[in-house]
Assembly symmetry: C2
Homo-oligomer: 263 residues x 2
């Protein structure tokens, strides 16, 4: 049996009792009193057959931050397992896709989610622009997932065929806004501008979580601290949404600018 277990967003206390039961049945884990193997993307994508062959004869738990199906990688893992005849059990948990509900913007008022990739000198993809524009024309909110670069091989190492990795990088809300505004300037179709309302989230689900609502101009210079960050571009709001957003606004007495308030 292959268990795919969502760990939620904060720390090891965010696993569910059902998830912990499954972990305890399995042979391959640490934390929770079992040995653990840290599976990076390379392992999951390229050496998955080792994991799956063990799951044929015994119980193996595959622990995933958030909910198991936030990423295509885990969908692919299930497809491979099922193709090999390995039974799969999934234990759900919170993911960023629903935890952003905490800011008061209703989840059913979101349009398509976009990803903001790190720009390089030569690679500045902007397919997010059209999607944000579409959402905003419909009055919908947009969740922007910000780039994470972990265990990315250096260009040099790719050329030499010997694996060396870049240091990990996590996009900040500040960088995301810089890039968003650059692309707005390039297209000039007023999908959004410096005065567009947004909500910045850092470390969602953790005790030191930080949520600040403000315009792009305001959030651009807020220090959100450690990763992970994500950003919501606000669409048309209803009164109950506005009431809740008030608590997170820059300068508001109740704001969570220092990680206080709702935690």
């Amino acid at each position: 049996m292959l268990y795919i277990i969502g760990l939620g967003l904060g720390d090891e206390r965010d696993i569910t009792l059902r998830g912990l039961d499954a972990v305890k049945k399995c042979e391959k884990e640490k934390l929770y009193g079992k040995p653990i193997i840290l599976a990076d993307r390379e392992m999951v994508e390229e050496k998955v057959d080792n994991i799956l062959s063990e799951a044929h004869g015994s119980d193996v738990a595959f622990l995933v931050v958030g909910d198991p199906f936030g990423a295509t990688t885990h969908t692919d893992l299930v497809v491979r397992a099922k193709t090999l005849g390995v039974d799969v059990k999934v234990v759900h948990n919170a993911s960023v896709m629903n935890a952003i509900g905490i800011c008061g913007l209703q989840l059913y008022r979101y349009g398509e989610t976009v990803s903001i990739p790190f720009f390089t000198k030569t690679w500045r993809p902007d397919s997010f622009y059209e999607k944000i524009q579409r959402n905003r024309n419909l009055g919908l909110h947009t969740l922007c997932l910000l780039d994470i670069r972990v265990k990315e091989p250096t260009l040099e190492s790719l050329c030499r065929g010997r694996k060396q990795y870049e240091p990990p990088r996590y996009m900040t809300i500040n960088t995301a806004i810089e890039q968003l505004l650059e692309i707005e300037q390039k297209h000039g179709e007023s999908a959004y501008d410096e005065d567009t309302d947004c909500v910045g989230f850092a470390r969602l689900g953790s005790e030191d979580r930080m949520i600040v609502a403000g315009t792009m101009r305001q959030l651009r210079i807020v220090d959100f601290g450690k990763p992970l960050h994500c950003l919501v571009i606000v669409g048309k709001t209803h009164p109950v949404e506005e009431e809740m957003l008030e608590f997170y606004k820059i300068g508001s007495e109740n704001s969570e600018q220092k990680g206080k308030g709702i935690a």
Copy 2:
């Protein structure tokens, strides 16, 4: 302190360790070894001040199925608490909005979520039609949340001023498809038809969960069993999405038509 704790989707084993810690600190709960008060919508919406006044002096846990911010009601509870100066802590969990990821359709490829209300003889609202049409034109998937009518006062009781309630009703996938097709026939704009691919979900997150992929015509007559049900109308699919959907297709060897497979 007011804790608002997501319970997840299955049963009491789906609470997180963090959630259970919070419950144990509180004075008002059953299950988990504490007395519990069943708070229906009426209580939450009308008698919330009683809950909040207790949270001023002691720890009160408010347990919510799924994630706390799936519904406007809980946003309103937080606003009231903060206004009264009560501290609020939120413990996230899985909700239907992310757990549907299990069928393989990627969460970032969903458009706006719609709600399908029970039609009556005189009330047949169809604002969902335009939204589904828009999502489909963009190639996006649509999550349809199906109506739940629990503790709804009867029309008669409203007239007489004495509260009597209708028996609880939960919309099935079959009814949802009937209503969807009725509205398509009324509008005639081919937003979707009997051959449109869908995925039906029953009891997501439970051991006896059931997931079936098929056309509206096919799913219309599938018996999904007990509530809760929800329905996804499939947009444009990518190969990895299709591979995963195959496992859930009607007639597929691997399908979960009897609640087997991935659980």
